[in-house]
Symmetry: C2
Subunit: 177 residues, 2 copies
């Protein structure tokens, strides 16, 4: 299969939560630093398209401004949805979506949202993963990982810490020769 | 309350597992390195006592040799247990155990095993946490954290990576002034 590279760039608490049970992400406030984006802009510039789930899309739709202007956005959902800012609504399997995107010239995809990231992990198509670990244990929350995801051996590419206590772990899937 | 410092030193997969569903920890094999203990001996030398749960104790009892010779070991369990190598069997609350240990001169405790670590987190008595992150997503497994643990703000003390891909995150609880 020819498909785009699939990349994850996400922040979690030490206990692996990407949000509180009600969806709030206020625990990220503690690492906000003027002029520091922890590599996000460079990562974002490197992707041709975003694939997100319904949950992330609903959150972003409530923002006053669409943050993805000029970037191809695909919303992966099996429920009816009305695109409002040029998004593509897609349903069905991850692999067929990736084949379509590749045929359209997309070479690297930013996979966002817990459900969609787990779908991509389950399909075995996540190529790299940037995890920004926030120095807090939340206890309760929406967890990034969980049962049902297949085992995936990773190679550490880089690890870096900031004075805010954020540690960023950059992994690639391990290619066995 | 006067109590010993309570420290956690544990390895997890990227998705927060400390073992496979059947208890196996073979995923640690990939980071074994001749002469490299990732700081464990220095940490172990700094504690006066270990507190472990029934699960960890059962595993260790099956070893041909008792690995804790010369170190005070407390097994926290509500089920009957027969100490075999000088362990203390304790039941009941974490706080009263820590008060007893402090009265006996114990100043730093190594808290081991998922259940007991969560009990100590729930009691709000974990002071520092060394997490060694192994470069693999396991998918299914015994998770270190979970719901029911209260929120805990952490301060990053150090982060370090090794050529094996292991990243060690050293945190202390955040003391607010």
């Amino acid at each position: 299969m020819q498909r785009p590279i699939c990349s994850v760039f996400i922040a979690t608490s030490v206990d692996g939560c990407i949000a509180r049970p009600d969806g709030r992400i206020d625990f990220l406030d503690g690492v906000q630093l003027e002029g520091e984006d922890y590599g996000f802009a460079a990562f974002y510039a490197s992707v041709d398209a975003l694939v997100m789930g319904r949950g992330t899309w609903d959150v972003v739709n409530a923002f006053p401004e669409w943050p993805y202007e000029g970037k191809r956005v695909v919303v992966l959902t099996d429920r009816p949805a009305e695109p409002r800012r040029g998004e593509t609504i897609a349903s069905g399997g991850v692999v067929s979506l990736l084949e379509r995107l590749h045929a359209e010239g997309v070479r690297r995809v930013y996979v966002d949202g817990g459900v969609v990231i787990r779908q991509f992990l389950a399909a075995g198509v996540v190529d790299d993963l940037v995890l920004s670990v926030i120095p807090v244990i939340l206890g309760d929350g929406v967890r990034l990982f969980g049962a049902g995801v297949p085992e995936l051996s990773l190679t550490l590419v880089e690890s870096r810490s900031w004075p805010t206590g954020l540690v960023q772990l950059r992994y690639q899937r391990t290619w066995r020769t």
